[in-house]
């Protein structure tokens, strides 16, 4: 009897759990699924009321215009693929640059190789919380001084503001948990500090270096404000500003925009899937306890 009651309570709990899981899953994925389904609809079908859930007639008009770079129905250029390319280039260069400078410094700071390493690290973490708009005006002037406004070079430099602290955060935490015996052994074998770092630390830390690079890249890829203030030429824009400017010039073309949004989000999906497992493990390591 008692056993029976227990199993019923267990069943109710299990149903409740699954109910909650299904509801939350629907809420989490439906906005993105809805955008994707919209991107497959014919422009005439998009604004129908009541809205159709699944496209009645598959249409790839939006994707076609994006890949051709030209919207034949409206007779206008669509620089989305170029914008995507710009985003990838800016993100890669600024995060690689941050990785080289940041990982070396993170190693030196985390290992207490120079005085005040920890304070400098904490200062960077505080500076990171400053709103970007507070940095945007002076950086705009600085970039302008070198004649780099409306260039991807200029934007790449400002994106160091975003990528550098992320590399610093990930690599500092990693190096502060790293055992030092290997380095001691190498030191006895006559390696200099830079030699130890390059020949021993870098190969061992490759997975962490890769994760910090990927994270930094995503934050640069997603960045909007600096790109908005620095870039004015459609062909030089990164994807977020490119999307925003598609709108203001010809009203909102939801067929085009939903396709572009879907394309823009695909790299994020793969990266998020890869990075979340790493983040779960390493996030709070050493922070509590």
């Amino acid at each position: 009897m008692n056993h029976n009651r227990n199993s019923r309570v267990y069943l109710i709990k299990a149903i409740g759990l699954w109910f909650a899981i299904v509801i939350i899953t629907i809420i989490v994925i439906s906005p993105s699924v809805w955008l994707f389904l919209t991107s497959l609809k014919h422009p005439m079908e998009i604004f129908r009321w009541p809205p159709t859930i699944f496209p009645q007639q598959l249409s790839f008009e939006g994707y076609k215009s994006i890949f051709h770079g030209y919207d034949s129905r409206r007779g206008s250029y669509v620089p989305i693929m170029g914008n995507l390319y710009n985003s990838l280039v800016v993100g890669l260069i600024s995060s690689i640059f941050s990785l080289i400078i940041g990982s070396m410094a993170a190693y030196v700071f985390a290992r207490g190789k120079i005085p005040y390493g920890k304070s400098i690290f904490l200062t960077i973490m505080v500076l990171r919380t400053i709103p970007l708009i507070a940095l945007a005006v002076p950086l705009y002037k600085l970039i302008g001084y070198f004649g780099l406004i409306n260039t991807l070079t200029g934007l790449t430099i400002t994106h160091l503001v975003i990528t550098f602290p992320i590399v610093m955060f990930v690599m500092y935490n990693y190096f502060s948990l790293f055992p030092s015996e290997i380095e001691d052994a190498a030191q006895i074998d006559g390696c200099g500090p830079f030699g130890i770092f390059l020949k021993i630390i870098v190969p061992i830390s490759a997975p962490s270096l890769a994760s910090s690079l990927i994270l930094a890249f995503v934050f640069s890829y997603n960045e909007f404000l600096f790109a908005l203030t620095l870039l004015s030429d459609n062909n030089r824009m990164t994807l977020p500003v490119g999307l925003a400017s598609t709108i203001s010039t010809h009203g909102i073309n939801w067929d085009l925009l939903s396709s572009a949004g879907t394309i823009a989000v695909i790299p994020c999906v793969f990266i998020a899937l890869y990075v979340q497992r790493y983040l779960l493990k390493g996030l709070w390591s050493g922070a509590i306890k």
Binding site: L17, W18, I21, T25, V28, P31, S32, W34, L35, T38, W49, P51, G102, M104, A105, Y107, V108, K113, I114, I120, I124, L127, T129, I130, P131, I133, A134, L135, V137, P138, K141, L142, I157, F164, M168, G192, P193, F194, N222, F224, L225, L228, T229, P240, L243, L257, G261, A264, V265, C268, I271, A272, L273, V275, Q276, K281, L283, W284, S285, I288
Partner: protein, 289 residues
């Protein structure tokens, strides 16, 4: 040699963080407009700040930012905690569900903003359709251009977008908690609810403090979502400190005033973090074990 390895990072911090911050603070005390004939900064003391504080628009903007922060952050922390507790249980397909739930945290904010702008669309938006079918509303609502609903809409979007990140942080925190206190409570016959309330929650306090701090800072810096979804409208109903600072600085080119807004927002964030620290310290007199 170690100094040489850290030098590029320190130079970089000086150029992209320290110089801009001090420049902005200095500009906050200057009359400086890129459009006027006098194209150089002129020291005017605290006049920018006194002008801001007597400006009804700015007060409205601060009020909006506070409302946005105070409503969205607790909701995100609450929902994120629930989601992470659900994901911390073992059930079949957990890895898959976790991957889905955490997915949005790396999405490009601009794309997220468009996703939701499309869901909230007044002509054929999915949200109007669902709410009308459920009998909650009787006619189509113009969510983003309605004086009362615009703020609700952007807050809902922010909750959808940031809760996965909060979930990730909580989940990482839950998994790094020591297991012994929970085990001994089990031996003592504590119920699931008691274990959560008296052991897990107090142990999570440091994690929660960091999350609340991070999310409060982020909410006070809200820019991308607002810029795309409402551009601060209708009227001033969703204008935030950052969107306002952007408009003053880069649309009307009043650099002095825009800098003063930035400085003011920094002070506001400092006050907010102080309040959060106080809130969390007050309760920490409870003993954990």
């Amino acid at each position: 040699m170690y100094y040489l390895m850290a030098a590029p990072a320190i130079i970089l911090i000086a150029i992209i963080f320290l110089y801009p911050v001090f420049y902005t603070i200095w500009c906050g005390f200057c009359k400086y407009s890129l459009l006027s004939a006098i194209n150089t900064a002129k020291w005017i003391g605290l006049k920018n700040f006194s002008a801001l504080l007597s400006d009804a628009t700015f007060l409205q903007v601060i009020w909006n930012t506070i409302v946005y922060t105070i409503v969205s952050v607790p909701m995100e922390v609450f929902l994120g905690l629930i989601c992470s507790l659900l994901l911390d249980r073992s059930f079949r397909g957990r890895g898959f569900v976790r991957a889905l739930w955490l997915l949005p945290f790396m999405f490009t904010p601009v794309v997220v903003a468009y996703q939701w702008r499309w869901l909230f669309n007044d002509q054929s938006g999915l949200i109007n359709y669902l709410l009308m079918n459920l009998g909650i509303i009787s006619e189509k609502l113009a969510w983003l251009s309605d004086i009362k609903l615009a703020m609700v809409s952007v807050i809902v979007t922010d909750i959808w977008y940031t809760t996965p990140f909060v979930t990730l942080l909580f989940l990482g925190g839950l998994q790094s908690l020591p297991i012994e206190p929970l085990e001994s409570a089990e031996v003592d016959g504590a119920s699931g609810w008691q274990k959560f309330w008296y052991i897990t929650l107090p142990l999570l306090r440091p994690v929660m403090l960091v999350i609340v701090l991070l999310k409060t800072m982020d909410a006070m810096k809200a820019f991308d979502l607002i810029y795309i979804m409402t551009y601060g409208g209708p009227g001033l109903k969703t204008e935030m400190i950052m969107t306002y600072a952007y408009k003053v600085g880069f649309i009307t080119f009043k650099i002095g005033q825009s800098s003063a807004i930035s400085v003011f927002s920094l002070l506001l964030m400092l006050v907010a973090s102080g309040v959060i620290f106080l809130l969390f310290r007050e309760k920490s007199t409870i003993t954990y074990y």
